[in-house]
Symmetry: C3
Subunit: 451 residues, 3 copies
Amino acid sequence: MENNKFVIDSEIKTTFVTNDIAQNIYQLVTELYPICRSITGNGVRETLKLIQQHIPLSVHEVPTDTQIFDWTVPKEWNIKDAYIKNSQGKKIVDFANSNLHVVSYSIPVHKKVFLTELKAHLSTLPEYPEWIPFRTSYYKEIWGFCLSHKQYSELNDEEYEVFIDSSLEPGHLTYGEYYIPGKSTDEVLISCHVCHPSLCNDNLSGIAIATFIAKHLSQTTPRYSYRFLWIPATLGSITWLALNEAKVNNIKHGLVLTCLGDSGKFTYKKSRRGDTEIDKVVAYVLKNSKQDYEIIDFFPYGYDERQYCSPGFNLAVGCLMRSPHGSFPEYHTSADNLNFVQPQYLAESFWQCSSILHILNNNDIYYNQNPKCEPQLGRRGLYQAYNGHQDSRLNQMAILWVLNLSDGQHTLLDIAERSGMSFEMIKSAADTLLAHNLLTTYIQHFNLNYK
Amino acid sequence: MENNKFVIDSEIKTTFVTNDIAQNIYQLVTELYPICRSITGNGVRETLKLIQQHIPLSVHEVPTDTQIFDWTVPKEWNIKDAYIKNSQGKKIVDFANSNLHVVSYSIPVHKKVFLTELKAHLSTLPEYPEWIPFRTSYYKEIWGFCLSHKQYSELNDEEYEVFIDSSLEPGHLTYGEYYIPGKSTDEVLISCHVCHPSLCNDNLSGIAIATFIAKHLSQTTPRYSYRFLWIPATLGSITWLALNEAKVNNIKHGLVLTCLGDSGKFTYKKSRRGDTEIDKVVAYVLKNSKQDYEIIDFFPYGYDERQYCSPGFNLAVGCLMRSPHGSFPEYHTSADNLNFVQPQYLAESFWQCSSILHILNNNDIYYNQNPKCEPQLGRRGLYQAYNGHQDSRLNQMAILWVLNLSDGQHTLLDIAERSGMSFEMIKSAADTLLAHNLLTTYIQHFNLNYK
Amino acid sequence: MENNKFVIDSEIKTTFVTNDIAQNIYQLVTELYPICRSITGNGVRETLKLIQQHIPLSVHEVPTDTQIFDWTVPKEWNIKDAYIKNSQGKKIVDFANSNLHVVSYSIPVHKKVFLTELKAHLSTLPEYPEWIPFRTSYYKEIWGFCLSHKQYSELNDEEYEVFIDSSLEPGHLTYGEYYIPGKSTDEVLISCHVCHPSLCNDNLSGIAIATFIAKHLSQTTPRYSYRFLWIPATLGSITWLALNEAKVNNIKHGLVLTCLGDSGKFTYKKSRRGDTEIDKVVAYVLKNSKQDYEIIDFFPYGYDERQYCSPGFNLAVGCLMRSPHGSFPEYHTSADNLNFVQPQYLAESFWQCSSILHILNNNDIYYNQNPKCEPQLGRRGLYQAYNGHQDSRLNQMAILWVLNLSDGQHTLLDIAERSGMSFEMIKSAADTLLAHNLLTTYIQHFNLNYK
């Protein structure tokens, strides 16, 4: 599938015309869907293993009780089985049917309880009686079940057998990391969370899109190095930042990917700084995507941008979403399923991300080699008569704009914005001028030797 | 009287619930009303004496001919009596009835004059035939009377006896000053003019409100030190600035108070700099007062903000008013009387000032002690589940905003404005975080030892 | 002719009331119209000779092949005669009728050609069948004729004699320069192009207006020095900049003048920097001219502002026009003739330029000598009672504004803009204050000795 609405490297585009990116992403979501993930445990490991079928990510295991800034790595949680049986011994709630049935991090339990006591351990969604809610209790040791309100309403006043075969023990926090070295050691960070069980939009969509972005960037030598993180939300980013403080300064741009598979319009939450290059690039791509979209200011809630944008780091990391977490009723319920996300929306999100990274990758600053007056374009065959056709005139203007603003203070996107011309036309003019030695790159200009 | 529209220190609020601030302020205006004030003389001394019944202000006497920058302190003017008698010996204009009848700084006179000569010394307001105008002649030695245009029209062509028992002699310029030491030597200046005779809005309203603000701040130990000035307009501020140049740098914020007793909407004239903290605080308070208001740019006319904002000082001093001087017909006439100002408007102005000073007092800058990633709020009991009720969620957001922006570059008001939350909610979150040692103050952060 | 819409030096105004500036400018345009100008050659020399009847400009001759940055000075082109004769020997196209008939820089030719071959050398304007287009071929050695499309359509399929008696040989690039020393060595640059043959708006209008501006400035000692350039477009400015690099830093403000004789509204194209003093002054003058106008952002196309605003110079040079080049159908055709420009529009443009230069000349920064509090205006006779008439009140406010903002950081235009008062009123207040030693100039303030 090719999507002409987006601007992408011809290399990537070619790759994806032959494959079917929409189906590939959806397929990975489908494979990951049944796994019971939490902030620690085997569900994360299984998830990373499936991703490794696409890219050779590294799996990191951080032991329980490791100090990570103000936090410590918690005990590892695993679960094998869980159910509620009624007095006839019939499983009326069964973990095997949906891993949402058990409150994440529930401690093990096996006992008989009457309805009144049971109810204190049950969560439902009265306003959506068919759906099972997703609940967690990471820091308070309890046990609990989630079920549809419809089923809850039909419970009889009888004795029930509750069984949760879980373990909460010293172990590890597991996360995946994949580093693609680029021409520069400056990094782009792509982060997504892997701690949610059978929920598709939040965040199998982000996991799968990050995977395929990584897969295809790995076939190129990008300008920036790329670091992909598949981590449990909050704890994962805190862990990575705490254990990799020395590397943080390399991160120049970043995106948290989440909720990218539903039919909603694109939403970009800006970095805390609000005017960084990634903020400008995403705004440009969304503005030019000819679709409705929304750009919102940073606020200190959400996913791992909270940690990347904490005041001690204040990284240039925004968050790309379609419908923002919390804004759609299916959020954190069993309705965030394989029907709620669709291949076409996943693919659109993939192309949108690709466009963003493409522009970021090409958003260079150049230096006009003849900054005093215009160079003589005519003798280089770069001068189009004014009465040329429309395209030539535009190219001519793009060339003049790039020459005029290539003073080391304007990126190509700055030039595109000021001239009102497209990034591609400005980039193409810059390439032409570079080929004629009328521009140099930052690296050449300062005679740098980076990589 | 308590006014829930305004945000105030609970301490002050309690004090004022038991007293009746509206009546107290109006009572002081009523007591001050009969006194004949001018830029010098006993009227100012009597005024300050009445204020001393509320607060122990210092009375300063600056001798005539003292050099104050480009000016000199003028002769002192006093007046005992004045009248115009008609040919039947009947007092048709009597200073005892209204001190506005005599042009302020009139030289003594006692002679008989015919109507034509008399008229050259009379001022009226033809457009408001019932009202007596207020006129002054501080720098040109003349004598003159003011009267209603109605009375003026009825004057017969006869001989009149004019008598003004005034003195214009070497003496002093008198002003009042009251300093409340705070935790910091940084000062807030509150300035009002005391040079107008029986005129209520301009400026007994400002005088009385400043008095009660001072009275109640004196019962606290505010963050800033406070300096209150009751001075003759123009000359008084020039005198104070000339004689206290060494102290001027301590003044970090200030307000000139005038015309605060009428029914008009609040008007704030910004400082010359226009974007100082006092400008922001007043704008915030007015915006949140749920009343119509207006904020106007600085212009070099008006009251003592002209001097405080002269380019050599350029202090962060604005001017708080209801109807601005010159904008209402009663301005500088006998109609600016005890009916024109009303207790409820005076009290509203008092609460508005209190709110401004309350926010200024609390508008601290804090330092997040765990700036790298969020601190673990849960183990400190500061984490509210997302499915908590509305208030908890807001508190949670306030806590996250304060942590995120407490980087030493944002005041609490900055955080309130950026988050869209109320100052009180942000302040309360900061207090909570401070109590848990998650924030420190500026003083602690830099290990300062101020006071 | 005097035009009260514009603000000008009374000295200049007086001069022009006695002369008739509109007729003078139009007369010069009329004299220059028949000359066949190009980027080099005798046409430019004749043009400069006619201008020398008004001002003693210097004529510079720069030899062919001189290196000027990335360019070289081209061969000099001259032409004596040219025609196309039909098979009956009748001149159907004759250079003597219009110098637009020959493509500028045509190489010499004399031969017989059939219609098909001839047509490859003909240019017309099908959309304006009566007009002859203006065409050039400076860098590709060709020959060609231009004619009306009407005449072209009537050409018969016969043999024609084509004759161009031109020469393209080593010679010189010629330009005119006129320097008026001012009180400061800081310069204002006024630049116009002289490379167009019989075209009036583009750019005999600019040439003639620059000439009369120079003529009348030469009778004064302006604050700034003035440099006027009459140059071939592009090559001329590149030549001047290349040969005078050491002087470029003196240029503080500048205007390119072109297309100033038609009936269109004024258009100002801002400098590349966009917020320079010349940009502000022109915006002020246009805003106050009570006529429709347009201000457009810089773009790297147009006339010599392209070179002055190239990134290596980035001078504060804008471009003043009425209808912008390229925006009117008569542009670069025989219809840009002596009817298209009119004396009244030329005169309006002259006054507009004069106003701009007048304000620039007077847009000083002053220093209040009594910056701490207001000076006592009364004892200097500068205080108007508040109940004075409207004009006095405005003067009073102008005086207070100038005092308040004369802190060395505000020009008089800044003060006019902030106060909302006219530049003239602010300037007049500054003059009054200067006369009373309440202000000093920048030069006095820093005890500079410039000139």
